[in-house]
Amino acid sequence: MNFWVALVLLTTGQECPEAQATARQAYTERRYDQAALHFARAVSTCGPHGPLLLALAQAQLLAGRPADALASLDRLPAQGQDDLQALKVRAKVQYLLGRDADAEATLKRAAASAPADVEIPYDLGRIYYQQGRHTEAARSFRRATALDARAFKAWDNLGLAAEALGDVAQAQQHFLKAVALVHKDHPGYDVVYANFADLLIKLGDHQRAFDLAVEAAERNPGEPRNFFLAGKALVQLGQSDISVRWLERAITLNAHYPEPHYLLAQAYRKLGRPADADRALTSFQAAAARTPKERR
């Protein structure tokens, strides 16, 4: 049953329409904190119905509260626990909580009931990649692309997995495929341009890396990594003076992102600005100290 249809059916009893409507509105507007708040109110007034609990869990997940989301999923009735959507949300929650083995098992259960669901091998691939199981990650992403040849995120991540496996030629082919898919049809998707730029910096192709990073920054000007990569490519191109502007922009977007501070110090050093370099290193150390060692 479609998730929103199920919710609408719940509301037909007129027992809690206001809470649900407010929650749905907040969810649609991506105000997930508010959505979670109102769904929780709806659960308490309407009762712990499965679709409502699932909606609450999804809102909590997107609000960055995975532990609360898991608690909501645990309240699902027994038959709702094996619902495909519930399994997929549970797996995401488990992944974010660092319970990779549980997330993997949940996704495998989901795959057994929906072998053609492209989201499942994609999420499995992300877990494997995070764990450094790159062979398995590549296999999962490849499965996702086999299920849907236009699954651009899967192609993007397949590129990352191939890079991790040392096959940079394949990695570039996969990134190119993803770029071809998103170039016109997904103007908001920037990640593949950044990933590709990152690879090309490692390969010493700094001019192309810079172009890709600029494209990523144009697509998503709110993402500091895009500006960092552009700045990094410029440093390698010997244009430290220009790189400073890109790196400072990355820091403006997120002052707690350590890498741009570190690179900025190097750029300043090359520009003969030791005092600025020392200041950047101090900022780097402060940012690094508060950054989690593992990012998910």
Partner: protein
């Protein structure tokens, strides 16, 4: 003009996979015929005590003064799940002894451990060698868990434990050590790297990620500790100079240490490979102390400012630009960290641009050295390899615990993986840890000894042949320390090509190598100049030196250019 990626674009150059080079030379594994029957015993337990994973070291030095280089291996000790500080591992069983093998010539070795008095008393890790008392024979320092041991060479084939009498005792977990005359008083001091704050009682339960049992814990669970610098008093004793020198101010997780004058100011500096934290570069101030400058030198982190698991290290000039560069071996998925010197004490992370990163992403490395193994005039990079977790193959598909050694051939500023063409020894997976380097048969090429965890060592004879020329420089200090440790040797061939190297026994991982400075000279039969910059700053110059020999240089007692 912007470069735009278009679907199906054909104009895009796609880089190839990791380049594999070929060579016409091989290494021969001569372990079986050598008479070296030593097997490292880690004494692994179900509870996964951290020391079990760290393996042992190798030292190559002339223990009995017969002119041949001998072999020393460190070993573990019998531990069990009941092991505690009060009931420490037991080394009495001869399976756990450290071992000394005398070189009989012809790649034959004889175990003389018992007579030499080198069996040891604790769970040991590393070995460092040098003539610290300037009496003409090479002494031995052994690191371990719960203490260290300084053995004075008695000059008659036996050694005496002088740790306490010399004031050289270091508590805790010591790993790699380095003899270095940091204050230029002509006496070798001793840096003892310490790993972390761990005890048998504080070992944690760290589940394997596949849920099948326990794995060795990540070092992040344990606090760093400061290393120790022992200053040589010149009367056979040392005093702890850790605080006075500034070393004590920097707690770390030291696993590897190498020495060099990275900024060419005439004072020998220390580089310390730390596990999963920033790397340390201790700049010698020339006033009896050190300041840690890794961050400002651009060597503390990778190119993104991220830390990595520093294991083994070496500092040497691989690109022949006169400035010493740095390699740090790391764990899988980190890429070995190559830092190319930019001059004036600055480094850039060069793993990506040199090819080292692409060749090592899946590898985990320990003992390492820049050495010109094919004598082509460019230093290559050797690494003893293995993942740290013996459970990794179960936990992560595509990852191997046992890994064959790696040789990246130097191509000037980049490296190419030539391991596959070097013979079966480079295809045989092992749990490589320590590695030491020396021309064991004095035939002009550098041979390699690998210490493998819970297994016998691998003795690799370099069979590169004599297609290229070479020079090995053996120094004897008179005003400087007798071993000449810290001296920088620079050779200039007839075409003006310059190469340099440091006289040192310290680098790699928990190991001590031959102090002689080896140069591959490619086609050069003659050297226009051989210069020695002795630790005190004195410059000695020799001219018109023929290649293909071991050149002994004695420091003049007077009349030296400065």
């Amino acid at each position: 003009m912007r470069w735009v990626v278009v679907a199906g674009a054909t104009g895009l150059a796609v880089s190839m996979a990791v380049p594999q080079g070929a060579t016409s030379w091989t290494f021969t594994d001569v372990t079986e015929l050598s008479g070296v029957t030593f097997r490292h015993a880690a004494s692994r337990t179900r509870v996964k005590f951290l020391p079990e994973a760290m393996g042992g070291g190798v030292a190559i030095f002339d223990a009995n003064g017969d002119g041949r280089l001998d072999l020393f291996f460190t070993n573990g000790a019998a531990a069990s799940e009941d092991t505690t500080s009060a009931r420490p591992p037991d080394k009495r069983d001869s399976r756990f002894w450290n071992r000394l093998y005398l070189n009989l010539g012809g790649w034959k070795f004889q175990d003389v451990t018992e007579r030499a008095g080198l069996a040891g008393t604790r769970y040991d890790f590393g070995a460092a060698v040098a003539d610290y008392d300037n009496d003409g024979d090479v002494d031995l320092h052994v690191t371990g868990f719960g203490g260290n041991t300084l053995y004075r060479n008695d000059g008659n084939g036996t050694f005496t434990d002088v740790t306490t009498a010399a004031g050289a005792a270091v508590a805790g977990w010591s790993s790699s050590a380095a003899f270095v005359d940091y204050d230029h008083d002509g006496r070798l001091d001793l840096y003892v790297g310490r790993y972390l704050a761990w005890t048998w009682e504080s070992n944690l339960v760290c589940p394997a990620s596949d849920g099948t049992g326990r794995a060795y814990c990540h070092p992040k669970h344990f606090a760093p500790v400061a290393s120790v610098l022992l200053r040589n008093n010149g009367d056979g004793t040392f005093r702890d100079a850790s605080t006075a020198s500034g070393i004590a101010a920097y707690p770390g997780k030291a696993l590897g240490v190498a020495i060099h004058d990275y900024d060419r100011d005439g004072w020998i500096d220390l580089f310390v490979a730390n596990d999963s934290m920033q790397q340390y570069l201790f700049r010698n101030t020339g006033r009896g102390g050190f300041v840690e400058v890794g961050l400002e030198a651009g060597i503390a982190y990778d190119d993104n400012g991220l830390s990595f698991a520093g294991m083994g290290t070496d500092v040497e000039d691989y690109d022949n630009d006169g400035w010493p560069d740095v390699i740090v071996t790391t764990l899988s998925l980190e890429r070995y960290a190559l830092f190319r010197a930019l001059g004036q004490g600055r480094f850039e992370y060069a793993s990506h641009t040199s090819g080292v990163g692409r060749a090592t992403f899946q590898h985990a490395g320990w003992g390492t050295k820049f050495a010109d193994l094919d004598n082509d005039g460019r230093r290559d990079l050797f690494v003893a390899q293995s993942h740290v977790l013996d459970t990794v193959s179960r936990e992560r598909q595509g990852f191997d615990y046992l890994q064959p050694p790696l040789l990246l051939r130097g191509e000037g500023t980049s490296f190419v993986d030539v391991s596959a063409s070097l013979g079966p020894a480079f295809a045989r997976p092992a749990a490589g840890r320590g590695a030491a380097f020396a021309d064991l048969d004095d035939d002009g090429d550098v041979d390699v000894i690998i210490g493998n965890l819970d297994a016998g060592p691998t003795i690799l004879r370099n069979d590169v042949g004599n297609a290229h020329h070479w020079l090995t420089v053996s120094l004897r200090g008179t005003r400087s320390n007798r071993d000449g440790i810290g001296a920088i040797v620079r050779v200039v061939d007839e075409d003006g090509r310059t190469r340099s190297g440091i006289c040192s026994t310290a680098s790699s991982y928990q190991s001590g190598s031959d102090r002689r400075v080896h140069f591959g000279l490619a086609g050069a039969r003659m050297l226009r100049r051989v210069e020695v910059r002795w630790p005190g700053g004195a410059l000695q110059v020799l001219t018109d030196i023929a290649a293909d020999r071991i050149l002994e240089i004695v420091e003049p007692t007077a009349g030296v250019l400065r």
